[in-house]
Subunit: 191 residues, 4 copies
Amino acid sequence: MRVKDFSKIDLVFKSTLKLIKSQGIAGITMSKIAKESSLATGTLYIYFKNKEELINALYHKIEKDASARFVSGFNPELPFKQCLKTVWVNYLKHRINFHEESIFMEQYYYSSYITLAQKQLAEEMKKPVYDIINRGKEEGFITKKIESEMLFSAMIGFIRELADEHTENRYMMINNRIDQAFELSWKMITN
Amino acid sequence: MRVKDFSKIDLVFKSTLKLIKSQGIAGITMSKIAKESSLATGTLYIYFKNKEELINALYHKIEKDASARFVSGFNPELPFKQCLKTVWVNYLKHRINFHEESIFMEQYYYSSYITLAQKQLAEEMKKPVYDIINRGKEEGFITKKIESEMLFSAMIGFIRELADEHTENRYMMINNRIDQAFELSWKMITN
Amino acid sequence: MRVKDFSKIDLVFKSTLKLIKSQGIAGITMSKIAKESSLATGTLYIYFKNKEELINALYHKIEKDASARFVSGFNPELPFKQCLKTVWVNYLKHRINFHEESIFMEQYYYSSYITLAQKQLAEEMKKPVYDIINRGKEEGFITKKIESEMLFSAMIGFIRELADEHTENRYMMINNRIDQAFELSWKMITN
Amino acid sequence: MRVKDFSKIDLVFKSTLKLIKSQGIAGITMSKIAKESSLATGTLYIYFKNKEELINALYHKIEKDASARFVSGFNPELPFKQCLKTVWVNYLKHRINFHEESIFMEQYYYSSYITLAQKQLAEEMKKPVYDIINRGKEEGFITKKIESEMLFSAMIGFIRELADEHTENRYMMINNRIDQAFELSWKMITN
DNA sequence: CATGAATGAGCATTCATTCAT
DNA sequence: CATGAATGAATGCTCATTCAT
């Protein structure tokens, strides 16, 4: 018997993401996904119950991968500022290098596919950043007078905007701009 | 001869936005828009050449309205900080009060509806903010060492994130938080 | 505005019946019905919510028409035997002349389309025959010792079998055979 | 080499019949049959060339079994009335106890599966009853003035109707009703 | 202008059948 | 033989668009 080939799942994810990039989440159809993956439409239904589950599975996979990237190269032994910069830069680079995925996630977030449970899960992705902010407060780098949510928003919003400008080729994130941007963030959140 | 009833256009826009809010841009159909507007589908085609043009027209209308809101209450005679705060708060409030519109605009931006010309037009919406930043540089409030794009991203990204958190009921933008957030932005961009 | 053309419903019924005759209830598809009716598939969905409702509506229509035919030419003023013969012959002729319909109704009865309510409705079609049997009992023609259900089964089963034999060209229901068959039924149910 | 496991064929027949009972002949699919039989779909194609042949084989098997049941307990040495009653009751009980099979056979008869040859074969099943009728005519019990087809229809139709009423729980075939019904048949066909 | 019936291409999904293991 | 993954034509149904009224 031919055995289930789970590598097909990754292939389908890749094709779907490519299609979403070029035509938006509204533009994808099962037959386009099948064709882009060089599979028969029926085959998609062996690996995914239906279109909705395919989209959901893609969302979960991307979320999982993204979480892993945020903490890559992170070493809590290092001094606080270095730790923060690692996560800060990881987040910026993730959003630049995986822009398709980021766009998909945002479209998904405001689509009828998402469920409440999934929204809550998405919240958990923020935890590493909050952890850093709290460490900064404990170590006295960050003022305790400002709520973490606000500091979080200031950093994350900045990063997101920079990444989008970069991706749209309006303002490229070359290395010294990255450093400068981080210092700006640092200046804002520190005493 | 009856004349084209332009109030219908607003009605259609309102219905479409309502539908996009609840079902995402992928979920809208011409017949849903017609029903929500209490019109016949054929009538939609009197006012809009096709679905794409309807969506595009909606985008333009929203963009125009938004631009107007950004400068509401703006008086260049006032001192710089007050001017900046007016625009800053306008932008935040716009994004909170017209969240549906903001979501639509972002979904639209990454859909196959948008054209290059429209992307360029969207850029022009940023002009009032850039104008303020430049005035700040001239008046010596804002350091000239940092590029305006970066300062822009820091402010706009922060505002966007705050507004989204508010809309998702995670971190509400009560008045003193607005003031605090603005001061944070001010601290970052000023010398 | 083009106005809903309810004659299309009869056209669809006719086409569907024709298809069921040649391919069985299992063989019908919406696109076959559309093609046979010279309509677009979408048009079918203007008049019927879905395939199931189309089939159900056809069943109801046939049932209604059949009921009308059973009592055609029936005059309760006439002597009992003549009354019985009218209904008896009506039933036989109905089953011969509307054999397609009869076959459809039986296939429908044992399909997953039918509901309990519809089964009960089908029972009511038997009422005219039971009424006659009861009159026969009251007027002393039919023995009261035998339950009406049994007398009903004897007559109806006989008729059904004769009609089927006729339709399959195995034993044709020419006039004197009809008379003879009725006399056989009469002999059985009378004292 | 493993050898074709013919017990699987019976298993498949049983499963198919069960499915047809609950969902009608239109509702069966190869994968449902496979699942109900705890087999792989591919395995079905080892035993049956395709779906049509599976259905046809089932028809033949049922027909064969039915024929055997009709003459069970039949002893031509016994007096005519007893012989007739044996066959008559066998037929009734068959139709009650194997109602699923009977329903299948009728749906099959008016489906696109059946061929002319099979229709002719089905005719042969009637032979035992015709044989009895002819013996009755020779022995003087049954009038020769009435064609055997008509007598056959009268008996078979009656039986079929009684069995259906029983199966639908409308008129149960308890023993004294069976006797009474046979006597009614007997009265009709005898002089 | 306004209507909504009519159209048919296109969609998500199913299913008989094949085939690699 | 047995399996069930793979196929792709076919199905029920939707939807943007047209058109007769």
